[in-house]
Amino acid sequence: MSMILFWVAVLAISILLYVLLDGFDLGVGMLFGMTGDKERRSAMLSAVSPVWDGNETWLIVVGVVLWGAFPPVYATLLSAFYLPLMFMLAGLILRGVAFEFRARAEASRWVWDIAFAGGSFVATFVQGMTVGALVEGLPVANGQYAGGDFGWASPFAVLCGVGLCFGYALLGACWLVKKCEGDVRDEAYRLIPRLAIGLLAFLIVVFVYALIENLRVMDRWLERPVLLIFPVIGVIAIAVLAHSVRNRRDGLPFTMVALTFAAAFGTLAISFWPYMIPFSVTIDEAAAPHASLAFMFWGEGLFVFPLMLIYAAVSYAVFRGKVRPTEHY
């Protein structure tokens, strides 16, 4: 049992790290598409280019931990979201190479600009939609997905896709405030309230929708009032965010939005508990046998995972501080 909990924890940490880290650089990618200014674009790129690849690696970590430690979940979710995931992969590939090829291209630079912004948008939208479909509950029969090619598609899932675009863009704008100066920072400061209001409006709509549809996650919130701590943390974080934006405290907004995301993640995770695929497969049902989990634990879990966390921290420490607006990538 303790092995199962350990791998649930590793999985949760990896997902949260992925959402926060790749979240901001996907967000910057979307904001990149909204400006045509060359100077701004290169400043935005240099704010994420040192770290985006490492951020994305957490997605692979999530994938392999799921497969090794919770095989039925890996098998069910990935096959259920077949088409969206394929488009997400295409988006991530195009966006990844755009970083590198853009600097080389001359006449065709616009191709990579589109690939960068478009890929970021597609990947974000798919991730939000996936979470939405999970909250609503995937059609599962006899331990197997039974929804067909488009079983994940619903107005609610699409709404969540749009919502996450607002969320990641907000993270991205806060990252730009943290890392940039001048024009880019000012523009990001102007965007933060709009994106935050957009995100808030989305959250309200989701809540109302969940009430009307009487989604099962709602029961969880009523059953476990302790869950309210997460929304409370979220509200406090949003308040501090508003304050820090007014006072131009460059470092704070990102931390606050990250905290909001962490609170939202905590709310979702505990709403689903003990289910991994809500509400059909529990953690215990999904876990691989002890021999698998223990083998993972005594090597990669105990030794390599902490090193990976330290390494990520060191990377960010190395690239701390502002990038200069003159910095061209």
Binding site: S49, W52, T57, W67, Y74, S79, F99, E100, A288, S315
Partner: protein, 467 residues
Amino acid sequence: MDALALLLSRLQFAFTISFHIIFPSFTIGLAAWLTVLEALYLKTGRPAYRLVFEFWLKIFGVAFGMGVVSGVVMGFQFGTNWSAFAGKVGPIQGVLLSYETFTAFFLEASFFGILLFGRSRVPPWFYLFSTAMVALGTTLSAFWIMVNNSWMQVPVGYATVNGQYVPDDWATIIFSPVVWVRFPHMLLASYLTGASCVAGTGAWYLLRGEYHAEARIMLRMGLFLAAVLVPAQLFFGHLVGDYVHDKQPVKFAAIEGRWHDEQPASEVLIALPDEAAQTNHYAISVPILGSLIGSMSFTSKEVGLSDFPVQDRPPVAIPFFAFRVMVGCGLAMLFLAWYGSYLSVKERIGEKRWMLWAIFLGFPLPWIAILTGWFTAEVGRQPWAVYGVLRTAQALTPFLTAREAAISLVMFCAVYAFIFGFGIYYIYRLLRAGPAGGLIEPPVGAVPNRPMSVVHHHVTPTVPAGE
């Protein structure tokens, strides 16, 4: 289960993994070669070694990036297209793949950064150590993949519990003798890929009359290395053949194009296998050689395909021809490596332009051998995903539709063609620019997790780089 979805999924897997293997097979060899170059530079202090190192480091960066990007797809595909497989083998294969991600990624990401921009920040011995650690990372990656694939070829150390294959004995899985002949076979193939590209580039420069000193280092080191490695590779290839003979007799029969039992068995050198008639046309065979190759005996009985029910046989044509192409590439490499080394030692290789052309044009031989070798191993394993345990048809996502599979296959073809075109053009430009561009300055924008950034030189230093 949709038969068309199955076919399209198999095509998609074959396409995406063939595309992917091109890059790691190159970078595994290149990382080892960079380590050797750096050690030589430290030992001798010759600037030419350093120039060659810096030059190949740039190419390494681009190829590494392409490998990373195409590798992400592989990690997802087992779940999307092969969910029945993923659910059943996850406790073994998912665990092995997670070890690959954790160990290899960690080493590569940590030390690749030092490789790219840490030369001025760390002592020379540590720089050499970092190079070796990157090489170790790529090697570990290959190791876990080979453990994984070898388990699919000859599943060992498992028990079946509730329809899932669960690990019974990890030591048996990891130290399976099959792993320890196939892993060196793959590793040698990767080293040969590196050697062949390096020698080919050297030959190209000599043909164009450029970068004489660097070109000679590339040519000689590439050829000498290949001269030693090709025979070793042929030996390990033979050992791989032995395991196939013992553990996968039906695959062995398909490779040999042997339809019926023979005693003593002849060896079909070349033929046109006819699956409908269960015979070979236009066959050129050598008597007794089949027994010799199969069992090291002049009299042994060798089994034919007809011993196995039709539904348990692999398709014959692909393993049969792929195997012969692989061996042909190996023999061609043996000739190039030995004759080239001989000419090189005699200082006469510059006079034999046809030989330089052959070495230059022969650079893709190891890649062709790797791809055809994998076709032999994987198609020959059919109709099984896990040999003798789980059929490929049962491995497919049960509800996958042909429409979904067709959309994703077309998408991958388009995206990969697009980025492959640009990537190759990019590497070509680097090769063409040559090593004479002087030592590259530490590319400050280059970071551990962004391998491809090494090729940009025009970055203004603004961030405190280095670790």
